[in-house]
């Protein structure tokens, strides 16, 4: 496979940001493909619209800040922010919801803090959290049903017109509660077996969602193989969710089972593509482990005992807050010194 040939052990050249971001975009394509196969054209339209708007917003704000526009646009980071929002927003989210999310992400969360490298928070997740808080109805009622459940899947034109039309009346027949949402709200009054009757769970774990998450897992493994991200954050992230679920959520009549936590919602997208943002994540390997585990634990806490069915955005933002603190207590060993003053000896040579 041509992709693997230039991979890790002998590649010591510093890769430019633009190349890294291009790989991130490429690695997300399997997930996008799975989303399109199982949930229709919504995500693809959202991705194209979000990326176009992200680039436009980035160009406009760079011009306003008197920075070189073409130089910064070419680093592809704005495109990745748009891509992540397009992948994570509901399929039938109206155009203005995704638009507000993208503009907030680029203008407020990224450029007002000083641009690439200076933003303390993950820009895409700031945009996502803003629209999630602001428009709870639009953000919960616009999730597509899995295609296997559709009598007739809406075509490209129908999806496009429902996203960009002023009224939202047409989408009702194509949408359905997400598996996590359904489980969270029904389990209080039903048994697990009754809850799982709902078609949103499909035949295996969660109709469509399981394949989307597996595709993001595959893309994420590609990124680790290419050494674009390290394994620490995703592994700690998933382990955090899994350990919490094993410790507290063993009764399926009370809490969503582990496989639903791992393969429904934005878990894999969050673990491999969102939490690993090099700017807003912790720096040292030990710090990354703490950071990732914190996100995983918070996701489980909010999903199980909070008000929201999914919590990747809030958890990532909360741990972004903690990053300066984590970095302060997890300094990597400097070259020439024996071991760090704190931390695992010999394990984090930086």
């Amino acid at each position: 496979m041509a992709l693997v040939q230039q991979s890790s052990p002998h590649a010591h050249n510093a890769r430019p940001t633009s190349r890294v971001m291009l790989w991130v975009i490429l690695a997300a394509l399997p997930g996008l493909l799975a989303q399109t196969l199982f949930f229709g054209w919504g995500n693809l339209i959202n991705v194209v619209w979000c990326i176009a708007l992200a680039l436009a917003a980035e160009a406009a704000i760079l011009k306003l800040r008197s920075k070189p526009v073409a130089f910064f646009l070419k680093d592809n980071t704005a495109a990745v922010t748009g891509l992540l929002l397009g992948l994570s927003l509901p399929q039938f989210a109206p155009w203005w919801v995704s638009g507000i999310a993208v503009i907030t992400a680029i203008v407020v969360a990224k450029q007002l803090y000083g641009g690439l490298g200076s933003n303390p928070f993950n820009p895409a997740m700031v945009g996502y959290a803003l629209v999630l808080i602001s428009f709870p109805v639009a953000m919960t009622t616009n999730w597509a049903q899995a295609a296997t459940l559709w009598g007739g899947a809406p075509g490209f034109g129908e999806t496009l017109s429902s996203i960009f039309s002023a009224s939202q009346t047409t989408v009702d027949g194509w949408t359905m509660a997400t598996p996590l949402d359904e489980y969270k709200h029904k389990i209080a009054s039903h048994t697990a077996a009754e809850v799982l009757q709902h078609p949103t769970f499909g035949e295996q774990i969660a109709a469509g969602w399981e394949w989307v998450n597996l595709a993001f897992l595959a893309g994420g493994l590609l990124l680790i193989g290419l050494r674009i991200i390290t394994w620490h954050i995703p592994v700690a992230f998933l382990a955090g969710i899994a350990l919490m679920s094993l410790a507290f959520g063993s009764n399926p009549d009370q809490y969503a089972p582990l496989q639903l936590h791992l393969l429904a919602g934005g878990t894999m997208l969050g673990a491999f593509f969102i939490a690993t943002d090099p700017v807003s994540a912790a720096t040292s390997h030990q710090g990354k482990l703490i950071y990732g585990a914190g996100i995983g634990v918070l996701i489980y806490l909010i999903r199980s005992w909070g008000n929201y069915p999914d919590a990747v955005a809030f958890s990532v933002l909360l741990m972004n807050f903690a990053v300066p603190f984590i970095d302060h207590y997890t300094p990597p060993r400097t070259y020439g010194h024996h071991k760090p003053r704190r931390g695992l000896p010999g394990r984090n040579g930086g």
């Binding site: 407020v108 803003l130 808080i133 602001s134 428009f135 002023a166 009224s167």
Partner: protein
């Protein structure tokens, strides 16, 4: 303390030393009640009246109260005026009084008021003190109204809704709805929207100040430096 001219007092209160945008005082009511214009005006006017009254009283007694007990005395005066304002609002704008709730009594803790009493009124004669209180209050009111309008427009898609709570039946149909079917943007209604809005207003004010000072610099004649020589540098500065 060098006495300020009336013009300086007016400019300071409204712009250069604006209690909300420059001193960043009184944030609690500023952030909590500015979800609509009518709330903002109601609280802004109450604060304005308290500020004028307390500045006047503090200025009158400034030579009779010793340094060591001045703060308790100021707080007593402010609390009395706040109680007056609260009773007046309860009498004449009862519904608004209910909406603003705890934030009317909390005017006592508005640092802007105590700040003006201590920093200005206790060192100046009554008339400048009244003017300072009025201008600071107006500056605070203006920021409240702008922020309230911004949040009301973005949050609920209306402007001047429920004005009759303050101004009586004649204002009942003042409400403006620029958009059809506006989807409420809860973020702007909730307190985080106020933080972001205030941040943007402060940025706007600083931006205007920078622009003005640069334009003033550009307008000044540069003849003084045209032919001068810098130390240890040969040649003229162009």
């Amino acid at each position: 303390m060098a006495t300020k001219t009336n013009g300086e007092i007016i400019k300071d209160g409204l712009w250069h030393n604006n209690p909300a945008l420059v001193q960043v005082l009184g944030l609690c009511p500023l952030l909590a009640v500015t979800s609509t214009v009518v709330n903002a005006i109601g609280l802004g006017i109450a604060t304005l009246l308290v500020l004028i009254g307390s500045n006047l009283s503090v200025s009158v007694i400034r030579n009779f109260v010793s340094e060591s007990v001045r703060l308790p005395a100021f707080v007593m005066i402010i609390a009395s005026f706040v109680t007056c304002a609260e009773l007046l609002m309860q009498a004449f704008t009862y519904e608004l009084y209910e909406i603003l709730g705890i934030f009317i009594p909390l005017i006592v803790t508005n640092c802007a008021i105590l700040g003006r009493a201590d920093a200005f009124a206790s060192k100046n004669p009554p008339l400048p003190a009244i003017l300072d209180g009025a201008m600071m209050g107006l500056g605070f009111l203006a920021v409240l109204v702008v922020l309230g309008g911004m949040r009301e427009l973005l949050g609920q898609g209306t402007l001047f809704a429920d004005m009759h709570l303050l101004l009586g039946p004649m204002a009942a149909d003042w409400v403006v709805r620029p958009f059809d079917q506006y989807p409420d943007m809860l973020f702007m209604v909730l307190p985080p929207g106020a933080f972001v809005g205030l941040g943007l207003l402060i940025a706007l004010k600083n931006g205007i100040d920078n622009y003005l000072s640069e334009r003033r610099k550009a307008a000044e004649p540069v003849a003084a430096t045209a032919g001068s020589k810098r130390v240890r540098v040969t040649g003229n500065i162009s």
